[in-house]
Amino acid sequence: VTPLEFLREEVDNVRRALNETLRHDYGPGQGREYYIECDDRLAEIKKTVALTLASDRSTIQTLFNELRQLASWILLIERSHLGEFSWPFADQLKDMAVALLSETNLRGDVVKPLIHVVAEAEGYQIQYETQTATVSSRHPFVVIAFQRSLKNHALFHCLFGHELGHTALQTSAAGSVLNSEVIAAFASTGPLSTTAELNKWAKAPSGTDIADEYRESWLEELSCDLFGLVLFGPAFLAAHRTYLSPLDPDPYYIYFSDPTHPSYAVRHKMLRRAMELLGWHTTITNDAFEQEFLNYLLHDPFRSEFLVLDDAQLTRAIAGIHQVIRPLGALAYSPIPAEELRELVFMLARQIPPVRAQINPDGGVSLGEINVAQTLYAGWAYWIGRDKLSDPAPLNFFQTNRLCDLALLQQRAVNDTRRAGVI
């Protein structure tokens, strides 16, 4: 079997794999477009293979790669099980991803990404299809991977804000703004301005200097942390602290062998200061439970030199992120009125999903619209501030998360009902 013959055989094999998929039911709107994209790509590859000479080994190798990539996308479609992740959150995330990641082609047509959701052992990842594209794609794939073990822990899901930042940085529309306004601001002065400055600041031991690609990685990670905060609000910082701080027993530690991320203290101090600059450091309700929540977020025992960005840098970067997320409209975080927040938190205290829907004494129904970030703010405020509530039987963390996850589902229905003008 020659390399070209084997390549042709592989085209047929991938076709057989595609034909054998889609025998199950998937979430609404997922299967058909995904299948068509795979089918179109395979047809495109087949045409290219037909024009390839047996002597053109480089092209044969590239097409093998392309086929194997396609086979991995085909396999992924059957890895998406609604029972393994929070699909109300996934649905919201898809809306955000389409608004943020759509691009235009040469003719100016909008090219929407195809969003696919799965659960993985190590989750909270978003994989955007390749920086160099492929030969055959029409719509790029975006895979959103939830962490399987945290299926019910809705309060952590806003960590996807960080991952959306990474993905947006790779797109032409959002990426150019994030590059010119956020990355440029962070690199304009201070420890992140040059590799020499970073090494001076980090006091790298002899022979373990941080290379420039790692400085770039730090710029990107900090940009994505800030992106997550601006997109999902204070709930992002609560999840960030709760999820990451256990992994960093020494908050100042820099792993000089492979320093892909800044130390935890750098990240927390930046987010904390950004909270203040965004005006989110004071309570909405003036109630003790919310003050307790903010105390948790704003707690900062770390040394001052670990704040590596000044206010001017952060302010410029925040403005840049606001510009990028403007198309998301009401999907992005904004504080809700005090009465509404109180109502949501007190619902949790009564072990009811925090949804803006009430049955009035006259039997009528009052529906209010809030977004995911606002629901999660209420959830975290309840959890961190629960000792300040007159709560006879406080929920545990799992129960709080479960009720918030249910609330995301119910609130979505409420929002859709309101928009449809049904009530």
């Binding site: 495109e44 194997r68 991995s72 590059n179």
Partner: protein
């Protein structure tokens, strides 16, 4: 350890070379552009845009010879591309030769105008001979640098 070398998987250089080859060929024979080239040329455009606007185009996770953890090894998530930095270096060199003295934005927009002109002639301004020649030189340089 898997039977295939990690270097043989998801090599971005091959894709970039194939895209540039198709773009150069399309400039040389615009009248022969079959409908299928539309897909390839739009993907070339996507690569140009990624190179033009992505802050850290070519930044890759540090290479590991094989997955250190079982969860990584059996994950079905697509592998990260390798050697994107080589693609970046090839594009920078090609830009310097085909568009000396021009910024990255200017050069890539000029190439995109040519691609648009040959892919959708009814919707775009016809590129001049000089624009066509510069764009072709850009693509040929990429092919040459990624073929070694």
């Amino acid at each position: 350890m898997p039977i295939m070398s990690a270097q043989q998987k998801n090599d971005a250089r091959g894709t970039a070379r194939l895209l540039a080859l198709a773009a150069s060929d399309s400039i040389q024979h615009p009248q022969a552009i079959p409908a299928t080239r539309e897909v390839v040329l739009n993907n070339m455009y996507r690569l140009l845009e990624a190179y033009r606007v992505t802050a850290f185009f070519g930044l890759e996770p540090s290479p590991r010879p094989y997955s250190a953890r079982a969860a990584d090894a059996i994950s079905l998530l697509p592998r990260a591309e390798r050697n994107v930095k080589d693609v970046k270096v090839a594009m920078e060199a090609a830009q310097a030769i085909a568009f000396p003295g021009q910024s990255k934005d200017e050069a890539m927009m000029a190439v995109a105008r040519v691609l648009r002109g040959i892919t959708y002639p009814a919707n775009a301004t016809k590129p001049s001979d000089e624009e066509l020649a510069n764009a072709r030189r850009f693509f040929d340089e990429i092919v040459a640098r990624l073929s070694s």
